[in-house]
């Protein structure tokens, strides 16, 4: 039990503390590719540190939901990092709290609270972005659920750790259902983390989708929302790496857990390389074409489900 707790601690701290780094590295490389000097890889940490010290400006008619919603969503993200294999390849302390589907429902819970917290500002700009996010929600949430089930159906269990071990077998790894689910999940990840071709972080308010959820926040709540965003990208990205793309190499034991953080770093460099290609060669899709992007991801995941039983 003590071992499991230590492993859990390494996994959770490894998630919370390292997640911003990957965003920093990705941004740095993106800057280099576009011939800029680019920010430091530690910039996300500087940003968080700065925001945590700043005061919080709250719209006059906003309630506690606006201020404390981000604390709650951060808490849920931390809980999810106990649950899914994002560092350590075996279940850790508190992992059985929810299964894979439960994890998907927790992600939905976060976006629910995030939307309410943002809308509590009563800003039209937030509403504009939220209305877009809501209208893609049906495909995004469906894909999140079906893609998690895609592996569950091949293994007969909804336990992501079992699924990871199962996929590491080459014959399972190269099966059509696994490959389809891998592609589908990656497309979903691009949407969920606001990457091109779906969304780009920029100054233009007119194209906001996910950005609108942090539009009115400032100070500590904004820091937590941004941090939560890094963690979310890390969680989903690591699931994709550990269960879908590269289900190999995880070491067990307390020492193994430290090794796994390094291993995750190596795996993430691969993901960042893939994202870098997308982020620097793609342009942002027209708003209603995002639906097509998600529909393709959804259909792929449904096909993956079908192939796994037939």
């Amino acid at each position: 039990m003590i071992d499991q707790m230590v492993e859990a601690l390494i996994q959770v701290l490894g998630t919370i503390l390292v997640a911003p780094l990957y965003s920093g590295i990705a941004e740095k490389l993106k800057g280099v590719v576009s011939l800029r000097r680019a920010q430091s890889v530690l910039q996300p940490y500087y940003d968080l540190f700065k925001l945590l010290k700043k005061e919080t400006v709250v719209p006059s008619s906003a309630s506690e939901l606006f201020v404390y919603g981000p604390y709650f969503t951060f808490g849920v993200y931390v809980l999810i990092s106990f649950v899914i294999p994002v560092v350590y390849p075996r279940p850790v302390f508190l992992t059985p709290t929810v299964d894979f589907l439960g994890g998907a429902l927790l992600f939905s819970l976060v976006s629910f609270v995030k939307v309410l917290s943002a809308m509590d500002s009563k800003s039209n700009y937030v509403a504009l972005g939220v209305s877009r996010a809501a209208s893609f929600g049906f495909l995004a949430e469906a894909t999140l659920i079906t893609v998690f089930f895609a592996v569950a159906i091949s293994t007969g269990t909804n336990n992501p750790y079992v699924e990871s071990a199962y996929a590491s077998n080459p014959s399972h790894y190269l099966a059509l259902d696994h490959l389809l689910a891998t592609v589908s999940f990656f497309m979903l990840w691009l949407f969920e983390t606001g990457k091109l071709p779906v969304e780009s972080q920029g100054l233009s308010e007119m194209g906001m989708i996910d950005d609108s959820l942090t539009y009115e926040h400032s100070g500590k709540p904004l820091a937590l929302l941004k941090w939560g965003g890094y963690i979310k990208a890390y969680l989903l990205g690591s699931v994709w790496l550990n269960v879908f793309l590269l289900p190999w190499g995880g070491q067990v034991g307390v020492l193994g857990a430290f090794f796994d953080i390094g291993l995750m770093f190596a795996k993430w460099m691969i993901l960042i390389a893939i994202v870098l290609v997308a982020e620097t060669s793609l342009a942002k899709l027209r708003l209603f074409k995002i639906q097509d992007h998600l529909a393709i991801a959804f259909v792929l995941s449904v096909f993956s489900l079908l192939f796994s039983v037939i």
Binding site: P96, Y125, A152, V302
Partner: protein
């Protein structure tokens, strides 16, 4: 048994009491409902008992709410007699008494809609489909009588009675393509909020109850179970979809009921087609939990609309305050299928059971649960967006406040009940409890199983506690924010016009224009509900027929005619029961 008699007596007395004094009628009804809940809890024999608890809670909360809501002379007696009908239908084991209860439940609703009518066809439509439902159920029951020779609910050797009655119940549940029967009377008839809650939350519950009860007595059908499963899935999708593009608060909630009833129907389908006994009992519990989750949450949200001055979400004049805000958010999160609420557990269980079925079947047949599950997943996505829309535009995006305490408190209580209810599901899923002491969960896991092996597991209790605990820890680590207030930023201009609920869902009108037949003209955006247009045509025919009929044979007012029908039925019931 004593509790049941007391409950029925009190409920039976309440219409009379309401005729004399409105408040005393509601008080009697509340007390009777409370006893009914007690009866359901103490006599917990199988999952059907959970229906009693669900129904009793709906009546209890709605009746207490009505004490502070009702302003109409006839509403009290009609409302209480409808509840009496439901209580009769739920507790009897006799087919005819069930039918009588079903009618006693339905007819006061016609009258209420008639009294509150804004358009004259709403009551007729409701009545028309209500009677269609009754006739189909009657036919199913008669067939059952022919097969078994008994007038009580008894095990059947053929599925035909179940099939016939199932269509009757599905009409009442507003299952695709009968979706319109669910929301139309509520909206166009402008039924008062307490009656809407009863119509939408517990009247469809009685239909689900009848369907489930019949399903328990029927041999396992092959094809028909899959049909129910699939039809339920499509109802989830279309219910949530049309709810999302609705801007009338009650229409939105009515469609949401369609969606939930679809999910319940799917669960019944899983029960009927489950390849293993374990999965069948898992899905049976899921039916009951879903019913409980939906009834409570939907009741709360309908009661919420009772606090609106305007039922359009575009210009909602809800008298909001902190209690009802919190209550509303909790109820909406349950309706969105989010953990750790009751609705979250139900949604999780439904999806798990569908995919467990696909796994255990492991054949071409698996396509049905997989496709259904995927469609439901899309529906759940819409449901989340829909509930966000409701709660944002009824509560969050609204600045008018009120100091009223009582009705918001009822809403808050319901919200807390539904939040805690997620963790109460341990009681219902008793055969599926598990633990993992090595990983910090010595108890408190609900494991979804299709055989002796677990497919997945969740712990609603841990999900209830942990995020808040970690959130509190985050506050402790980083501290509370230093707050300064300022006007909301609107790119440097004053915020004159707020975003509307119509605009919130307009992307879907534009994106799914082919499905909604979206037309943008000089007066704005128009969409067509395909199912509604079809039903509307049928309804118009029906109305012209009824008009002709009433002019020729019934030269007096509708309400008298209906009251006569009630009396006839009560007499009929008394004769049958005696």
């Amino acid at each position: 048994m004593v509790a049941l008699i007391v409950a029925l007596l009190m409920l039976g007395l309440s219409p009379v009491a309401a005729l004399i004094n409105r408040r005393s009628g509601y008080i009697a009804c509340s007390a009777g409902s409370a006893v009914f809940v007690y009866y359901g809890m103490t006599n917990y024999s199988n999952e059907l008992s959970l229906f009693y608890v669900a129904a009793g809670l709906v009546w209890l909360f709605t009746s207490v709410y009505s004490l502070y809501y009702d302003h109409h002379r006839w509403l009290g007696p009609l409302y209480t007699s409808s509840i009496l009908g439901m209580a009769i239908a739920l507790t009897t084991n006799n087919l005819l008494v069930f039918l009588a209860g079903y009618e006693i439940m339905t007819i006061p609703a016609y009258v209420t809609i008639g009294l509150y009518k804004k358009t004259d066809y709403s009551a007729f439509v409701f009545m028309g489909f209500g009677e269609l439902s009754t006739i189909l159920i009657l036919a199913g029951f008669l067939y059952s009588y022919v097969v078994t020779g008994s007038l009580s609910f008894s095990p059947l050797t053929t599925i035909t009675p179940f099939m016939i009655a199932a269509f009757g119940f599905m009409v009442k549940m507003g299952i695709l393509p009968f979706m319109v029967t669910e929301w139309l009377p509520i909206a166009h008839g402008n039924a008062p909020s307490n009656v809407s809650a009863i119509l939408s939350a517990s009247m469809t519950l009685v239909a689900v109850y009848g369907l489930t009860k019949m399903a328990l007595l029927t041999p396992r059908p092959d094809l028909f179970g899959f049909i129910l499963l699939g039809v339920g899935g499509f109802s989830v999708f279309f219910g949530a979809f049309y709810a999302y593009v609705s801007d009338h608060a009650k229409v939105l909630l009515g469609f949401s009921t369609v969606e939930n009833n679809g999910a319940i129907l799917t669960s019944i389908g899983v029960y009927l087609t489950a390849p293993t006994h374990t999965l069948a009992s898992f899905s049976l519990i899921t039916i009951a939990v879903y019913v409980l989750a939906h009834s409570l949450a939907k009741t709360g949200l309908f009661l919420d609309t009772g606090m609106m001055e305007n039922e359009s979400l575009i210009l909602p004049r809800i008298l909001k305050n902190r209690l009802s805000d919190v209550g509303g958010v909790l109820l909406a999160s349950s309706m969105s299928g989010l953990l750790p609420t009751l609705g979250g557990v139900a949604t999780w269980a439904l999806l798990e059971s569908l995919f467990m079925e696909a796994y255990t079947l492991h054949s071409a047949l698996s396509i049905i649960p997989i496709v259904t599950g995927s469609i439901i997943a899309m529906g759940e996505g819409f449901a989340t967006s829909t509930m966000l829309k409701f709660i944002i535009f009824a509560h969050i995006f609204n600045k008018r406040s009120s100091n009223e305490k009582t009705r918001p408190l009822i809403l808050l209580l319901l919200g807390l009940l539904i939040l805690a209810g997620g963790s109460a599901t341990y009681i219902f899923y008793r055969p599926f409890l598990a633990g993992n002491p090595a990983l910090g969960l010595p108890f408190g896991l609900i494991a979804s199983e299709f055989s002796s092996q677990a497919f997945g597991a969740i712990s609603p209790l841990y999900v209830l506690i942990l995020p808040s605990l970690i959130g509190a820890l985050v506050i402790a680590v980083f501290g509370k924010p230093r707050i300064r207030r300022s006007e909301v930023w609107n790119s440097g201009a004053p915020l004159n016009e707020a975003y509307t609920s119509f605009a919130y869902s307009n992307n879907i009108r534009l994106m799914l224009g082919k499905l909604l037949l979206t037309h943008i003209g000089r007066d704005g955006v128009k969409v067509v509900d395909v199912f509604w247009s079809l039903t509307h045509t049928v309804a118009k025919l029906f109305v012209s027929f009824s008009r002709h009929f009433s002019r020729t044979y019934m030269n007096s007012r509708l309400s008298w005619y209906v009251i006569y029908m009630i009396l006839a039925l009560i007499v009929f019931t008394v004769v049958v029961v005696a």
